[in-house]
Symmetry: C2
Subunit: 205 residues, 2 copies
């Protein structure tokens, strides 16, 4: 998750041109090889290297509806198949949390969007059925990640603190959720100016 210096991980609106609303600055300049098999071959950067964890060992993603598209309310026959064209970067099953369930949408590269009206616990159980033995990525947006954090369902979190301010939007860390004491937190600041943090949940003694 990308977070601004003032704590925002998403803006207040989502449009086709600005999927992150006011928070577009969070991913600007996020270059280098990021996702297996997708993207140009450019200089390899530390930020790109960190992002190359994206699909390592992951068998399924859970995302909020806003990450899938800008619509709200009941689905219409608008032909929307997600932000990513015919090559979504997931290549695995993806659970889209929504109050409006619908039939799955499948792509040739292995990506299959399943639409589920479920609690975080139920969604996680369903994710593990879809990809036994693999890890589950909670892909965002921040509201969805916060729900899983509040339910103590996150073992590892990768934050990228981006040296910009946004001013408005949705915060990832708020109301004491999660408690930093529950995690071993390591930080490193890269030449790009971004600070990457790895949060690993502390295990029992």
């Amino acid at each position: 998750m990308f977070v601004s210096l003032d704590g925002f991980a998403a803006g207040t609106y989502v449009t086709l041109e600005e999927p992150f609303g006011e928070a577009m600055a969070l991913t600007r300049g996020h270059d280098g090889r990021a996702i297996h098999g997708i993207g140009n071959i450019e200089d390899i950067t530390f930020d790109g290297a960190m992002a190359s964890m994206f699909d390592q060992g992951i068998g399924v993603e859970i995302m909020g509806r806003r990450k899938f598209g800008p619509q709200s309310g009941p689905w219409t026959e608008d032909g929307w198949r997600g932000w990513w064209g015919e090559e979504p970067p997931f290549r695995t099953p993806v659970i889209v949390l929504t109050h409006h369930e619908r039939e799955p949408i499948a792509f040739d590269n292995g990506t299959v969007f399943h639409f589920l009206d479920a609690s975080p616990q139920e969604a996680l159980r369903r994710a593990r059925e879809l990809a036994p033995g693999a890890d589950v990525r909670i892909g965002g947006g921040p509201t969805t990640v916060r729900e899983f954090l509040a339910a103590d369902l996150v073992d590892t979190m990768h934050l990228v603190i981006v040296p910009v301010t946004i001013g408005v939007g949705t915060r990832l860390l708020e109301d004491g959720i999660p408690s930093a004491e529950d995690f071993d937190i390591r930080s490193v600041t890269l030449p790009s100016g971004r600070t990457h943090q790895l949060w690993n949940r502390r295990r029992g003694d």
Copy 2:
């Protein structure tokens, strides 16, 4: 490539128990998720994240014979199939440079070792035939990497400077090869004490 503070990337000998000889300390404690689908699920570390670049976009590896096994001279019928058991971490074709060519060895997970007596340029041409459009990883050992560096065939190099001294062995960087002026070099020191460097070849102005 892992390099000690005194510049060594391999020891003077290779045995079944110590594939890096005196340089075993270079990879000690190299934990965290490193290679897609292989290894235990542990805490995710920055070093592990950097290592997760290992297979991103790579379609073939070129390695020296010593990386494949401890033998020298003509091959014997000893049943050796590499250091890695039946799950070699490559999952792609691999070219093993040797003066003693032999039939390929294939594994169920996609790894196929091809044995080739060739110059760096010829090996690279053959690698590109084996994996059109993908990147080629020069996997080591240091002598092999130095040959490709000397021939100006390396676009990107990922070095891990490990805070140990080895005292003897094979150096990676020697005799002014490669010239650091030919590369844009970025460094970051991680909480583990290791310094990772990304060398990207400078392009023409």
